[in-house]
Amino acid sequence: MDQRNTWTNSLVIASAFAAMASVIWVAASTIVGELHAPFKNFLKATFTHHWIGKGVIAVACFLFFTLVGTLLARKYPSWRSSVPLWILVFISVVGFFAIGGFYFYEDFLK
């Protein structure tokens, strides 16, 4: 009997975790960049534009965690793909409101 998770299921689990990492990175780097100018300047100096830097690192995060996560998830056949999907939904909603709420506060309430 095969004691490994299937490749397709492992890929879904890993990509969901990888997407979480990318979403967290984008939300965190956006807010930190606005509050701490040297960080935003570092991204700009390294990638020509802070937004390009955020995107490039988000893609790198996604590819890295998808690759490593797929190999890891293969070893655990009991892992279900629904759990990381639920967490990804939660993280995405929180990330959306964190960015939206931050700029709303900065532009309209501060």
Binding site: V12, V23, W51, G55, F62, S82
Partner: protein, 151 residues
Amino acid sequence: MTTLFLAMLIAHILLGVVGVGASYTTWMGFLKTKYSLRMLRATSLIAAVSYVLSWLSGGYYYALYYGTNVKPTILAGAYPWAHKFFIEVKEHVFIFLPFLAIVALLAFWSLDDREAPEGSFRKALLWLLGVTTAIGVFVTLSGVVVSGAVR
């Protein structure tokens, strides 16, 4: 504006709208009791590819043209919040979309034609599609607000 920047802006808008439409179609299609997995795989693929291409074309326009030519006009106009709030939020939450769409695409490709998906997996995937569509609609409407503010 050069023809290339104009083409990139139009491609960004059209591909973005196609992406949101494809996400919505996938969401509605998967809500049905009897759905076509082949169609869901196709629409989720269209969504993922559209978001990636819209990101690239919009990014080219945004990084090389918008900041020096459009942004100052908006900030000096009657609606500076169109940039300060809507563009700032739009440009960042847009980055979520390609990743969410790729996860949904992989999820549909992992499903078996002959077997119904587990209840929790189906619900989570439906929520993922709904959140992707909602963020896509917000991004699209933000683009409309910015277009209005620059005139």
